[in-house]
Assembly symmetry: C2
Homo-oligomer: 422 residues x 2
Amino acid sequence: MSKNNSNVSTEPYKGVRDFYPEDMAIQNHIFSVWKKTVEKFGFTEYNASILEPAELYKAKTSEEIVNEQTYTFTDRGDREVTLRPEMTPTVARMVAGKRRELGFPLRWYSIPNVFRYERPQRGRLREHWQLNVDMFGLGTTEADVELIAVAYEIMKNFGAKNSDFIIKVSSRKLMNAVFGTWYELDEAQSKALQRHMDKKAKMPEEVFYMEAEKIVGKPFEFLNLSHTSSQYEEAMAFPAIRQAKEELDLVISSLQARGVTNVEYDENIIRGFDYYTGTVFEVFDTDPANNRSLFGGGRYDNLMSLFGGESLPAFGFGMGDVTIRDFLDTHGLLPAQTSTTQIMICIMDVECKAYAEEVANELRTTGGADGKGTNVALNYSYKNISDQTKAARKLSIPQVVIIGEDEVKSKTYTIKDLAKTE
Amino acid sequence: MSKNNSNVSTEPYKGVRDFYPEDMAIQNHIFSVWKKTVEKFGFTEYNASILEPAELYKAKTSEEIVNEQTYTFTDRGDREVTLRPEMTPTVARMVAGKRRELGFPLRWYSIPNVFRYERPQRGRLREHWQLNVDMFGLGTTEADVELIAVAYEIMKNFGAKNSDFIIKVSSRKLMNAVFGTWYELDEAQSKALQRHMDKKAKMPEEVFYMEAEKIVGKPFEFLNLSHTSSQYEEAMAFPAIRQAKEELDLVISSLQARGVTNVEYDENIIRGFDYYTGTVFEVFDTDPANNRSLFGGGRYDNLMSLFGGESLPAFGFGMGDVTIRDFLDTHGLLPAQTSTTQIMICIMDVECKAYAEEVANELRTTGGADGKGTNVALNYSYKNISDQTKAARKLSIPQVVIIGEDEVKSKTYTIKDLAKTE
């Protein structure tokens, strides 16, 4: 791992990860749960390049991200190109590009790697992979409910219990109604307050309220919209607030009816991106040691207008590999370490090679628990049994077959479990 | 697909591809054959970031590639970073970084996307995915034979026949022996001739020989090393040539003994990268309409020295998705188009929703040919049957279940095959 002046370093680029097989196995486990779950619900996979024209992000992504946090450079043909910081603009671009040929409601998913140029810290690397799940063409609460239910099913399929996480939902539509009618803010004030609220958790409470007062021009107090609140009836007299709140209540009650009992309304849920227009949600770890936002998403009905088309209802969420791996780790839900290779065949000397290859061929074709073939590595090092077995252990291969003179003569072999012969 | 001044374009960045579900399905088919085949032979998966320190490529990749063909830029922390143009330097870096902890012989594979900044043309995009298969720690011909056999098995598992492709092998060691002893060239001349030979197919024959004569300082004539050649005995008198040729003959005969009959020696096989040290191979399509190199690889025993470690024998090959897709297309080997979603449930009105969701749940859990659950999309658009069925066809979903008043009353449903109801 050392680096000196004459040698090239073996370290990866700052803030990105190497995936050695043991890490890759975890990554593949996470991807596999993601794929199986969303495909069960009829989502199909798409993908695109990590290279996107920079203009794609300039209109709708939050300014902070585009200006300060993307990898953007000019190519030799003088094109400004960005390493995608998120997948939503890409999927909107692709849907807009083939809108007439696609069938709706459209259910799409992808597992892209995305890039942010920021100071590396826990759970915030410069590159991470992110499941993206989106439904296009359905503007009703059924889409909101299904997408949040899919997010819930993924957590369950990872082995999480309802008590391990909580789904907090809110609504941009409701927030805008409250901003416009209750707080009586204009558009610029609304936007400023929204961004300020998004950073609430990052500052002391008194700083939050002081700053909020500056924005709204009067002492700021959250509108409490729980059904038991004294403000509830008064707020419901505003049609825009009433309609948005009823819609959100329907999303929550529909989820609860499906067994998603760990869901609640939380007016603090904003989500960073500007493009959300309706229901937004965020999933939190309930473990006090890891009590943070895991992932989220929401409705974005206007992103298509970026490409000049008619607006198209859309709801989506993204779920990052780093955060989910931390969650699985914290809750003891990571799978046990094994290699995709089941058996190493240790060949004792070159005279045994032909029979060893015969055995390998047989095991690859008809071996394994289901008799459909298993994964076999041949060890051609011709070292002694102890050295070859040691190599198998280092490679996390669980079983060995030793082919020596006796096996060649008798044309028989035994599969040995390394855990049992330790 | 149009672009005007006010709207953002729906086109991807120049020279890269969007993968709509129908393309993704083909991509997933290719990846799946790759993974299954190499895992059968005991190779395990690794990965790394596309971002690498630029210094990694400056020592061993061909100069043309580093200087003219990579995406290299300076990040905001003044680090020079390159989008990996190939995976071999990365895998060498990773092996060097954990050499003591890894078990050898080490079999690794990865399916990275790699980037080249070049004029887009057929089969040469700016981004493509590439299976990389490498074995470390075995310097004998068994490694050469196994890796070439794995490449052969992949082609067979794609459905190719032996007559569809030919594996041409050569040897850098043999070439160096011939250059040094037969042509009597010094190192600079050898390198120049090697690079010149690598471009042989790109120029008229007389230009090739004229230029070669300039390099070697006398009329240039290929040394014919086939066993029937008049030069054969004379060349074999040089021990370096003899040893290298015998090694290469052993690789070829071992492959033939395994059923790989479409393999032959071809002294024109060079491979572009400087780091090869022994056997090199290249697989060609035999179809006259698509008669070109599909992929290749070879032995590179000295790459570890880049990181200051002891040399470590290595043999690897890479296989690109674009080229292999062209090959499968040319030979009629692409899989039939289907979605990962098996059934769309068409819901006739909102009153039928609860039962439709019940049916979806049942099919997801116990449906499908094996009774282990199938992939189901619910259509909540509440449009008429004809519209919903049309959407299913556009989405390439092969079956529908219609849930209307009758189905809700009788609590029964029928799975209809769309192909049969057309």
